[in-house]
């Protein structure tokens, strides 16, 4: 290395010395190769094809394969088993963006919507979940979700404690992104999903009960569901698993993230019961300003969530970036206009709710639909969750404090279904691998099956776990503690120490 940089310097100064330097390098070359004389060398064509795979996000080892699809022992190119800098950089940035969605995006979005005596409890729940889920993910969560195993669950041990999860790509999921980056990217999804549930049970669930419930919920609902939808041998992974029983598609988590958290939130809030004073006392948001700030962060972070789900800085990510923007902006506007027509005024909470609904509904579709599909999704996302939180909630009378069900369960289900109708082959070549026959025809039936399975897992899993936690440690604080506010009772702090 030193020799090379030295010779490079001389080379720059003088052509004659440069020639000498080239000679030195040439002399050094064979000496290095002599150590392993039997190692087969790739041809120049193989090396170029392997390098081209970086640009096309293809398999850099493909050019090395013979007719039977085998690679001669020891045959490799410099790019065939390493990460690609551009794809890796994009994925690291996206991981940070998805974390930013939870901390502080979702924390502020939810924090602004609660009463001021509970603002810190919501922030503490988001922070606590980020720490807790990371530990679970390191111990065995990643392995259960993403190691190969059976169609319902990965391996408890293969990647336990992130053993073997290093900077080399795991080619089950990406040819160019380091597996350690991929595992951290997926961790951020595992963090935000349970954090979404918090919205339904805000202001009235004991901190300890939330952490215990979430721990169990990750093992019973999230890790298996993530494996079924995204795991290489997953039950519902229509895009990558040719043997998937349900040939469904979910680009960034309509079922795994939004349906699972939304339906679980509804069940948990029903078992928990309404807040003390619900329906009699006023419970308006304490800061719409924080709520709007959080919404903006969610929107920005969601580019990492949706476009990043391509797991490459490629054309599919580019398309997802566009569809995410279109659907979100359209839904943001549509919800507020619906309010304007129905109630006379467009509210900031209406704009914020519409934006989040748009982001939720486009999530499963963003890498599979074109601009027209995105706008259709935006309009649907602005109207259907709007009616769910303004009409349906009042009719049924459950206390979903911050509308996790109305936005995430209704939106996630809507998105999963619309993806079945609006997915088109020409925006995503991967759809042609295993799903050419169903896209544009019967894909929506596969989507309905995936919705059904997700619904059953979330509802049954949550009901059982909630009753277990209720029986063992109890779910709620004492009524007068709840009246005092969870900030002081659970955390010994107040959000605002103003005079």
């Amino acid at each position: 290395m030193k020799l090379k940089s030295l010779t490079a310097k001389f080379g720059a100064r003088s052509a004659a010395l440069g020639g000498l330097a080239a000679l030195l390098v040439t002399l050094a070359g064979p000496a290095g190769a002599a150590d392993a004389p039997k190692k087969p060398e790739p041809t120049l064509e193989q090396r170029i094809a392997s390098l081209e795979a970086y640009v096309t996000n293809g398999d850099p080892a493909a050019p090395l394969k013979d007719k039977d699809g085998k690679i001669a022992e020891g045959l490799a190119t410099p790019t065939s088993a390493t990460s690609g800098p551009g794809h890796n950089a994009w994925q690291m940035a996206c991981s940070a963006l998805v974390l930013f969605m939870t901390l502080p995006g979702l924390a502020l979005f939810y924090g602004g919507l609660v009463r001021k005596k509970n603002v810190l409890s919501v922030l503490a729940q988001c922070l606590g979940i980020a720490g807790l889920v990371t530990i679970l993910w390191w111990a065995c969560g990643y392995s259960i979700a993403f190691a190969g195993g059976n169609p319902f669950m990965g391996s408890w041990t293969k990647f336990a404690f992130l053993k073997g999860v290093d900077s080399a790509p795991n080619t089950d999921y990406s040819f160019w992104v380091s597996q350690n980056v991929f595992s951290m990217y997926q961790l951020m999804f595992a963090i935000i999903t349970p954090a979404l549930i918090v919205g339904a049970v805000a202001e009235r669930m004991k901190y300890s009960a939330i952490l215990v419930f979430i721990t169990l919920w990750m093992f019973v609902v999230y890790f298996p569901l993530a494996h079924m939808v995204w795991g290489i041998d997953g039950f519902m992974n229509g895009v990558w698993n040719a043997k998937a029983t349900i040939q469904a598609i979910d680009f960034a988590g309509g079922t795994v993230v939004h349906m699972s958290s939304g339906w679980s939130a509804l069940i948990l809030c029903l078992i928990l019961g309404p807040r003390v004073g619900f329906g009699k006392e006023q419970m308006p948001p304490h800061s719409m300003v924080l709520c709007m700030v959080g919404t903006g962060m969610l929107w920005v972070g969601w580019y990492g969530f949706n476009a990043g789900s391509a797991v490459a800085a490629d054309g599919i990510a580019a398309n997802a970036f566009m569809t995410t923007t279109l659907a979100t902006a359209v839904a943001c506007f549509t919800w507020a206009v619906a309010e304007w027509v129905m109630r006379g005024k467009p509210s900031v909470l209406g704009f914020c709710s519409g934006a989040v609904a748009g982001l939720v509904v486009i999530t499963p579709a963003c890498g599979f639909v074109n601009s027209t599909g995105a706008v259709i999704i935006g309009v649907a996302a602005g109207l259907i969750p709007f009616f769910a939180v303004t009409k349906l909630k009042g009719l049924i009378g459950y206390d979903d404090a911050l509308d996790t069900f109305g936005v995430h369960a209704v939106g996630g289900t809507l998105g999963a279904l619309l993806t079945g109708f609006l997915a088109v082959l020409d925006v995503n070549a991967n759809l042609s691998t295993n799903l050419k026959a169903v896209v544009g025809s019967s894909l929506w039936i596969e989507q309905v099956k995936a919705i059904g399975l997700t619904f059953v897992l979330a509802v049954v899993g949550t009901a059982i776990l909630a009753y277990i936690v209720k029986a063992v440690i109890g779910l709620r604080p004492a009524p007068d503690e709840e009246r005092q506010g969870l900030d002081i009772v659970d955390h010994g702090e107040e959000g605002y120490n103003l005079i």
């Binding site: 006023q282 939180v389 509308d403």
Partner: protein
């Protein structure tokens, strides 16, 4: 000596203050207050939930003046705080038995 207590709309404070200074009132105490009279409150809607806000933000001004200044001060408040719409507020006038300036121990009208 009389104490004049005026409840006014918050955005009228600057006008009321200068009107009172012009007629010779030298000090005042201002408190943020909430309340309702005939104006009642308003309704706020957050997604599906409607809340009635009964107590609207107001300012309460307390001034103490000698008897000769009372009617001029009241007129100044009425002129400067009036918008003509409901919710303009109220003025209450009451007797003050004694006033003391803490720094000098002065008593009576000299102290205000």
């Amino acid at each position: 000596m009389k104490k004049i207590e005026a409840i006014i709309k918050p955005f009228k404070l600057e006008e009321v203050k200068s009107a009172l200074s012009e007629v010779g009132v030298e000090g005042m105490t201002v408190t943020e207050a909430k309340g309702f009279g005939r104006q009642k409150g308003h309704t706020e809607i957050y997604r599906g939930s409607e809340y009635t806000v009964d107590f609207l933000p107001k300012l309460k001004i307390d001034i103490v003046v000698g008897d000769e200044l009372v009617s001029a001060a009241v007129d100044a408040i009425i002129k400067s705080a009036r918008t003509g719409k409901i919710g303009d507020g109220k003025i209450f006038i009451m007797n003050v038995e004694e006033a003391v300036r803490i720094r000098t121990d002065e008593r009576g009208a000299k102290a205000v």
